[in-house]
Amino acid sequence: MIDRFREIATRLEDQPHLLRLGRLFSETVLIEIEGDEIYLTFDTGRIVSVVAGPSRKTPWRFALRTDADALEQFWQARPAPGFHDVFGLAKIGRGRIDGDILSLVKNLRFFKEVMALARCKEEAAA
């Protein structure tokens, strides 16, 4: 699964509009998948490190906790209802978001579109 996030980091470099939207976002985000931790560190909109946990010493701003199947469904070109959005995962009980939610909401479009970069095909929408 960590390879998918490394793929996202690479694809982000080819998305100038996202780099512009995220230019004020320099935070670490925890992605927890069935207990496995992945730390995404952003620096002015770029993902500069993708590091597997576990870690008790890595501070993070907010976290998305979900499961592998939910993420794979989220990354389908046309996900089923609820799996089509990061907040949707939370709404249908397949994800949980915690930490500094306001930081997430201020950067919500950016974060959603970054997460969706692993979607299957060109017409996938965030």
Partner: protein
């Protein structure tokens, strides 16, 4: 070059004892259909249907911007007022527009908060309408987010609001219309989306009124998109079940803003809804 058949004008009506200058658009002839936009948006959500010759061949579609929205200015003194929409003000506004435009028992088609108020009007003032099309409408939705996020000095409420409501747009929506839909939220005035959501997420007075809706006199048809996270199909079905005689259709590939996010996908459902509404005798031209 093309010029659309939609025309826009202003009407001044009295609401809460003070004048309000309301912007409205219309297209078509025949049975009047008054269309209500969602929270945080405006009349532009209806433009596809108003440009649809099959719809307007025998229907006069009218849509208006609520005060504080689109081209309808907020009331005098707004600069010191906290905008919080109430059921009472919303009902008064819709009835004032119906009376001001001389609409004779129009069909009321509302989406989201517009659908909520349509059901309130079905319960409380049905004599003014011919029937109700309640889109993405339900009895009550508590917020699954903090509405105060959308009005704060250190962030852009419109951009945050658009990013939030994008959760309610179907992945089947054409990309251009997805972003046209979100643009309206990005343009929404400071605090307006929050004030609309205050009505939508805090007033549960409709729940106890659903059973008094008489669908024998004014039919009620609900439309709900499967990708609507805010008003889910389960929410709409529960609401329809509480209204004797109400019907509901689930739109598998649509979300919370069907007429705006995916007009072609919504079109057959809207035409079907119109066909379920009765033809009343005299119709204003």
């Amino acid at each position: 070059m093309s010029i659309e058949p939609i025309t826009g004008r202003y009407i001044t009506v009295e609401i809460a004892g003070a004048p309000r200058r309301i912007y409205f658009e219309e297209a078509g002839q025949g049975r009047p259909v008054l269309c209500l936009h969602t929270a945080g948006a405006d009349t532009r959500q209806w433009r596809h249907l108003m440009n649809d010759a099959k719809v307007t061949a025998d229907h006069r579609l009218i849509a208006f911007d609520m005060p504080w929205h689109g081209k309808s200015l907020p009331p005098e003194g707004f600069e010191t007022e906290e905008y919080l929409l109430t059921t009472e003000d919303y009902i008064e506004t819709v009835l004032a527009v119906v009376a001001g435009l001389g609409l004779e028992r129009p069909i009321l088609a509302g989406c989201s908060m517009g659908g909520r108020i349509a059901l309130q009007l079905a319960a409380l003032h049905p004599e003014h309408f011919g029937g109700f099309i309640a889109i993405e409408a339900s009895d009550f939705q508590p917020a699954w987010y903090d509405i105060d996020w959308f009005h704060r000095p250190d962030a852009h409420g419109g951009e945050m609001g658009a990013a939030l409501v994008s959760a309610n747009i179907s992945p089947y929506a054409p990309n251009a219309e997805r972003w046209n839909t979100l643009w309206m939220f990005m343009q929404s005035g400071p605090g307006v989306f929050r004030g609309d959501l205050s009505f939508y997420t805090r007033d549960d007075s409709l729940i106890g009124r659903l059973a008094q809706i008489d669908t024998g006199k004014t039919p009620v048809h609900l439309l709900v998109g499967a990708y609507d996270l805010t008003c889910t199909p389960e929410d709409a079905k529960r609401t329809a079940a509480a209204i004797p005689g109400a019907t509901v259709s689930v739109m598998d590939e649509l979300g919370h803003f069907p007429m705006s996010e995916h007009p072609q996908g919504f079109r057959p459902f809207f035409l079907d809804a119109l066909a379920r509404m009765p033809r009343v005798a005299a119709q204003a031209a």
